[in-house]
Amino acid sequence: MTRHVAPRLPGYAALAAAGLLAGLALGRVELVALAAPFALAAVLAPALAREPKLRAQLELDRERALETELVAATVSIGADAAECVDVLLELPPELSTAGTNPRSIAVAADSARTIELRLRCDRWGAFVLGPVLLRAHDRLGFYAWETRLGGRAPLRVYPSVETLHALLPPLETQVFVGNQVSRTKGDGIEFADVRAWAPGDRLRRINWRATARRGELWVNEQHPERNTDVVLFLDTFTDAQRSGRGTLDLTVRAATSLAHGYLQRKDRVGLVSFGGFLSWLLPASGTRQLYRVVDSLLQMDIVLSFAARGVDVLPPRSLPPKALVLALTPLLDPRTAPALLDLRARGFDLVVVEVSPVPFVDEGESELDRLSYRLWRLAREAMRARYQQAGVPVVEWIDGVPLNVPLEEVSAFRRYARPARV
């Protein structure tokens, strides 16, 4: 517990000393009378000051919440003697409260006071609230004691999920049952083709109309429903941001929506964070994987690093064969492009969603600034062309535009383009 003395208290003592000395020197009792109140304050305040015995407890009504939701934080404060206590629950910028924080309360002896704060989750993130900052002070504010009590309470705020009308289908499916209609033929629901009967074909698969027309047994073929592996490849080398929003924020929101969409379809979703700090999640399916992915996304941060690394440092299982690799990148760091093109060269079905940093960058005032800006835009165009030459669809996603739009652009690109063999 840290003790603070008000700056006026030594001043009062100095005034009292000066008054007494002046009274003695001038032989005037009025100056002694003038000094007496200040001497009294200077003597009484330290004599009556005693370190308070405080107790505090911080509790949240839940540990997980979605953006824009409200979380109730309860702070209980107790004291052995009557105290005036200032209470502050320090909040990260992503959380706000409409309640009074900080506030000064009176705590009676051997009792507890409870303060309820409604916290609004303004932005996603993993936070640890507390301990509560308490400052007890004497009645006249001559002495104050500060301490932090109440423990810590974790709070995870998940980004809101955007509804995706159509997800990007991968070029190839996996072998397990899922919701994605495979391009191959086998047991399924979707009609694919007819072919001549072969021993072993089941009677129910015979297409009687084709059989009657051709005079021999013909059977239907179907496309089986299979699952897919999707790897969300996040470029976390650099972030362009302005007033709380930035490319990393958009990347995390998009990755959450995509993970939610694909996992609902029974697909397996993995995660690779490719940046100053490299991390990955092996592909898996189910609700637990969704929490794993989102929890990993909440930890995403830009870590400055000059290390150049390729995809070969990733464990092979994090990038399963035939997986759809959805890269979310602002195309700002030159180290991402070689890694992604390496993936393309290894035969992965790669899609690049460019999380556009343009809305977060000012063109500048001077002619030189504007020239630099135009050169920067040209360099970005050149980077896009590099991907397109390798047959990789690159779509730009701008803040404020629904994620469905770039995904639909990729689908349209694939309708008219064939994957290149590189």
Partner: protein, 161 residues
């Protein structure tokens, strides 16, 4: 309220010694400006200097006025203390956080108690001076010892603050 009290004490000081008005008015005026600056800028460290300025002005007025004991000295003393405390409260209220009614009431009661004790002590000092208790080296030494004790207290407080 703090400025009003300060103004009241300043008016009393000015009325006390009409011959020393230029000097006392200048000192009191500087103090008043400092007090206003302390309140406007919410500077807690600027609360004490105005009191010192007015105290010096009062001492000048006493010296100029003559040898008669000023019976209003306890009121001047408490006026100065209350002015400083109210200014400090005002600065705290601007810097600090919203306080409950009970906290405000507790501080007001404490301030009232301090003012009451201060006026009693101050009046006692004036009354003792008027009492025929004698004079001499012992009283002077006692006064000097108390002054030294208060200086020691001031130094100790300044170190711990």
């Amino acid at each position: 309220m703090s400025v009003a009290l300060y103004g009241g004490v300043l008016a009393d000081v000015l009325a006390h010694a009409p011959r020393a008005i230029p000097g006392t008015a200048a000192l009191g005026g500087v103090g008043a400006l400092l007090l206003v600056a302390a309140l406007v800028r919410a500077e807690a460290a600027l609360v004490v200097p105005p009191v010192a300025f007015l105290g010096v002005a009062y001492a000048v007025a006493l010296v100029v006025h003559g040898s008669r004991v000023d019976d209003a000295a306890p009121l001047v003393a408490v006026g100065l203390l209350l002015s400083a405390e109210l200014a400090s409260w005002s600065v705290d209220a601007r810097l600090r956080i919203p306080a409950e009614r009970a906290v405000v009431r507790a501080r007001a009661l404490a301030l009232f108690g301090l003012a009451f004790a201060a006026i009693a002590l101050s009046a006692l000092a004036v009354a003792l001076a008027a009492a025929p208790a004698g004079s001499g080296l012992a009283w002077t030494l006692l006064g000097a010892a108390s002054a030294v004790a208060v200086i020691g207290l001031a130094v100790r407080l300044a170190r711990t603050s």
